[in-house]
Amino acid sequence: MRTGGSVGRVRIRADGRVLVRIYAIGPRGVSMTESDLSAPALAPSQGPVAASMLDERPRRLKGGIGAADRIFRYGAHGSGLVVLVLMTLVGLFLAIRGAEAIRAAGGAFLTEQDWEPDSGRFGVAAVLFGTISIAVIAIAVALPLALGTATYISEYAPPGIKSFLVGVVDLMAAIPSVVYGLWGMFWLEGNLLPVARWISAHFGWIPIFRVDRFDPDDPLATPTVFTASAALAGLVVAMMVAPIACSVMREVFAQAPVGEREGALALGASKWGMIRSVVYPFGRGGIIGGTMLGLGRALGETIAVYMVISPIFVINWEILSTGTNSISSLIALRHGEASNFALSALMAAGLVLFAVTMVVNFGAGIIIQRSRSGESS
């Protein structure tokens, strides 16, 4: 006979008393105890009975995994493995093929400006400099615009058009880069020439705005020295990354706690004071993270940059004058006629680009996560 079961029966009497009968199965058969729960205290002699009734040792739960579940489990793990292998393969492949070229070039790979792999003289100094200078110009332009727009959408915009603006900015982040490239090539370049000329004529004393080949006092000086500059590429990329950065910032600003906002206003802060003391400190992670996300995108941008620059292989500090380069446009430019070794050199350049972007993106991720506003995401 099996033991350990019990069944309780309850009766609520008309006078409000509650009676309980407990039938329990012990080694000696079924026993019955009756007690009155509405009595103020229970006699200790009834303890053992109660304890037997509450005999609730944790049961072992044996969940049988069905065949479908097992297949699903393996499938899910398998897809994770496939993705992992695929992604690692790309990185490893780049590293292995690139290592060949880096070994051949040695330390000069980081200092050499030329790119002639087949004659053994090649390095990423010029292209890396170009990549970073374009990205820095882009961020310098995009950051204030994105910050201002995000603040406007989150704090100033009338509620009626807010969701429309959010949609517009998110949409802009999805516009193909080739469209931005077209705009830069056919619209911005022509409109930027007089501006670049004006800046270099009046602000030429600032080193980066100086253009040596342009003499402001010469009325016949050609403005063509200002075409296809790093500034142009930077502006095009800025238009691409500003919506991305803006949409990250806007999301974070919108999460700033209402209580703190109203607290600041109640203490007499003006709207700007409230933004500066509540919204920006709260959204600092979003501002930095969004900017770095934009920077990562700016570093890797290929087509828009390739369309507007005229590639050179020297470090050009004059951001307004013709000629710059970037790693991704170098790859786009040279992959077609590359020999086996030259391809390996391009892989090495790609590896450098990948490393830089990854560091920037990881940094962005960590900053967003560590910040107060990123805790929930």
């Binding site: 099996r2 493995l81 993705v83 992992l84 007089p194 209402v258």
Partner: protein, 480 residues
């Protein structure tokens, strides 16, 4: 805990959190084995109501008016207010600034050019605006108004620039795409010098569609299963996969192209083809899809999953019937945005698909061109009609992206488990159906079955007959 038949249908409303707030707390004492047992009989039987089928809690049928969704935070009040004097000051300062700049430019400064005019006028406007406010306000107010103006102008500049990008492309592209042949022909018969009434971009559009279809055919199943793996089977291995995937979202698109070019085309010796381009696009959008789908899946409330598992559903059924429907809108957004990104990217195609001027419907051999790559190639040509065709292709591409984006906004953008009115109605109908099913089985019958089962399991001889007025209320423990 006590098993009563009526507690079974509790979770028959998938896709909605329990409206009664947080998950119902278990009866404390009787369900925590580790706690010291107070002397005396358990109070548990007293808390139960006597069995009365009419009074048992039934499947909850959410009414249309019921508040849905997770608890909302405090709502923000709209504090935006336009003051009349601010508008007057802004208008005054602006007109004064324009007039002053015009005078400066024509009489004093040797500068010219539209943009320098705008810059100088804007700076003057800021100065004049500050001066106007400072006439009758303190410093804090001045800062507030200036910050407001600067923020407004940043927004205007960015939105205006973006509008210029879009309008410029559409306007230049309309030259080409207003001709019907642009939509139906390829470029095999149209040379660079032919007018726009010959040739079109249909081959590039077909190429784009074929490439993205292949890329999605690989990346949707793989990406979603991987995201489910990351969200539902947490382990150190899953963390590793997640880290690698996040690192790979930083992968510049040209490197995806380079990878496929170096392996598929050079190492394996296969032709440049649409399939190679699809592979490159897959590598590019896979991390994007996995990452955003993972984020969405992790937002599915654990209570929903636990409710499903507690009814005895398997992991697989829980994910298929509870997790995926709950996260449907977010997953759709993830896929659509990945698609938009994949459609617009030129560089993977540049390295792997080759350029062609005619229709090619075979994705595995021969070059195939896509819209962004066609744009890129055509606008480098010196002839105006080729450039116009390039703009036309870009405009078509942009419209495709807009359409995808619009679909994403329509379908998605909702948090996990937040339903559309139609979805809510459907959930209500499902709940009503379930409740009807349970009712038709008969609660009384269920109670009787339960008692029979109990009796035969624990008490082979049967219990003594109940005296009138007594009811069986609890089975604790049970046969071991």
């Amino acid at each position: 805990m006590t098993t009563t038949p009526a507690s079974l249908p509790a979770s028959s409303t998938p896709g909605r959190p329990m409206p009664s707030g947080p998950s119902p707390a278990p009866v404390p004492a009787s369900s925590t084995p580790g706690r010291p047992v107070p002397s005396g009989p358990s109070p548990a039987p007293v808390q139960r109501r006597p069995i009365n089928p009419e009074r048992y809690p039934r499947t909850h049928l959410p009414s249309a008016a019921a508040q849905a969704g997770p608890a909302q935070g405090e709502a923000r009040r709209n504090l935006a207010k336009v003051r009349r004097e601010d508008v007057l000051r802004a208008v005054g300062a602006a007109s004064a600034a324009v007039a002053l700049t015009a005078w400066l430019f024509s009489q004093i400064l040797p500068a010219r050019g539209a943009l320098s005019f705008v810059v100088v006028a804007y700076l003057l406007f800021l100065g004049l605006f500050v001066a106007l406010i400072a006439l009758d306000a303190d410093r804090m107010t001045v800062w507030d108004r200036v910050a407001g103006v600067v923020i407004h102008s940043a927004a205007v500049v960015l939105l205006l620039a973006l509008a210029v990008v879009v309008v410029f492309t559409l306007a230049r592209g309309s030259e080409a795409f207003k001709h019907l042949n642009f939509w139906s022909d390829d470029m095999s018969l149209a040379g660079p010098l032919d007018p726009l009434t010959m040739g079109g971009m249909a081959h590039a559009a077909v190429g784009t569609l074929i490439m993205i279809a292949f890329a999605l055919a690989i990346s949707i199943p793989l990406g979603l299963t991987c995201a489910i793996f990351l969200a539902e089977f947490p382990s150190p291995f899953a963390r590793l996969v997640r880290t690698v995937v996040e690192a790979m979202t930083a992968l510049p698109s040209i490197i995806c192209g380079l990878f496929i070019y170096a392996t598929y085309v050079l190492a394996f010796g296969l032709d440049k083809s649409a399939f190679a381009a699809s592979l490159a696009i897959t590598i590019m959008i896979l991390p994007i899809i996995v990452r955003s789908a993972d984020v969405v899946l992790r937002l599915v409330p654990a209570t929903l999953k636990e409710a499903s598992l507690s009814t005895g559903a398997s992991r697989w059924r829980t994910i298929w019937h509870v997790v995926l429907p709950t996260a449907k809108s977010g997953l759709t957004t993830a896929i659509v945005l990945g698609t938009a990104r994949g459609i617009g990217e030129t560089s993977p195609v540049l390295l792997t698909a080759g350029y062609t001027t005619y229709f090619n419907f075979n994705p595995f051999s021969g070059p195939m061109v896509s819209l962004p790559f066609a744009t890129f190639t055509l606008v480098k040509s010196p002839t105006p009609s080729q450039v116009a065709r390039g703009f036309g292709a870009a405009a078509v591409l942009m419209v495709m992206v807009f359409a995808l984006f619009w679909i994403a906004r329509k379908l998605g953008g909702k948090g996990a488990g937040v339903l559309t009115p139609r979805g809510e109605r459907r959930a209500r109908e499902a709940s009503a159906r379930d409740a009807g099913r349970f009712a038709s089985r008969g609660l009384r019958q269920a109670v009787a079955d339960f008692e029979d089962a109990q009796r035969s399991a624990g008490f082979p001889g049967g219990l003594p007959a109940d005296p009138p007025g007594w009811r069986t209320a609890q089975d604790s423990g049970g046969p071991q």
